[in-house]
Amino acid sequence: MINYIDLHAHMVSRTTDDYHAMALTGCVAVTEPAFWAGYDRVSASAFADYFKHLTEFEPQRAAKYDIQHYTWLCLNPKEGEDRGLAREVLAIIPQFLDRPSVLGIGEIGLNRVTRNELATFIDHVELALEHNQLIHIHTPHLEDKYKGTKAIVETLASNSRIDPSRVMVDHVEEHTIRMVLEHGFWAGLTLYPMTKVSPGRAIDMLEIYGTERLCVASACDWGPSQPLAIPNCMFEMRRRGHSNQWIHEVVYNNPCRFLSQSPKFKFAPLEQPALVH
């Protein structure tokens, strides 16, 4: 097996057994975007607790399995409708940005593509620019995917201070991948059952668009999802006839290329795939 990095995993929702299984299949690092808890939180102090969990407890839990845990901070798009709460949460985020495992602002974006969600998204982008942070973006689900991705891409493209190579636009699918790549952003393929892409479709898109600026991730969370989605996809890549080097570029080197733009990220691309440690 080849070592891999899961760029999107909501590990606070997963068991320690999942870390064990991920370690056994070659996972060396995860990055965890701030997420929706399944209900709308009512105060900024709830987010302060969550950010503490993400930056203190979770890295310790992962380290026991020799997995490096990094995180992204924000108020998730599903809660972006509440502008008052968003302002309060945005005000506390800077006190966490210097923590050693924080890579940037994310996953920000849109959910039902409302006016308030877009305003909250823009506020987060401004915060990221102000603090020179990488940006990780969630694009909406199902019928909202195309419209929301278009709104996000147009918003970012109209801001001359945005360097697209420092932005990951996640959850792309067949009808949104082209617009994301053509604007110079990184694109994420999410191996999530039912509502995102299967390994087969992710590999199709990698074959059609090439591997440059494309990553795969599990986005495992509290819903039906698979913490071992990346090794499963690697198996499918091999079955499809792709080389270990091709797989290594997608599951290890590409996440390194994007994430190492943060000086806190300690892994670098490797010429040859490393076998499971």
Partner: protein, 100 residues
């Protein structure tokens, strides 16, 4: 014929590897539509999701490359206006007619 972005497997190999899996999927779709017809109450033949589903099946039958992208677009909200306010947390899988 080889197009840019080819799959490394030959058509013969793809059939050997994946035909049974996709045969199963197409039968599941057929069974879902039969189940829908057998339903105890016929109260959603004009539901926006089932209408979009039937349009997607027509697109599936195309002989032209790009079926997934075209079906994705058939199942998308193609309006450009932002919603005035959130109407819930979850998407439906197809656009309501008022949003197309």
């Amino acid at each position: 014929m080889q197009i840019e972005g080819s799959c490394p497997r030959t058509q013969r190999e793809l059939i050997e590897l994946e035909f049974i899996e996709h045969r199963t999927k197409i039968l599941d779709i057929a069974a879902f539509l039969d189940r829908f017809d057998r339903s105890v109450e016929h109260n959603a033949n004009d539901d926006f999701r089932i209408k979009a589903f039937r349009e997607a099946l027509k697109a599936l039958n195309s002989h032209e490359f790009g079926r997934v992208e075209r079906i994705q677009m058939l199942l998308s909200d193609m309006s450009s206006e932002l919603r005035v306010e959130r109407d819930g947390q979850s998407a439906y899988g197809a656009a309501k007619e008022s949003e197309q």
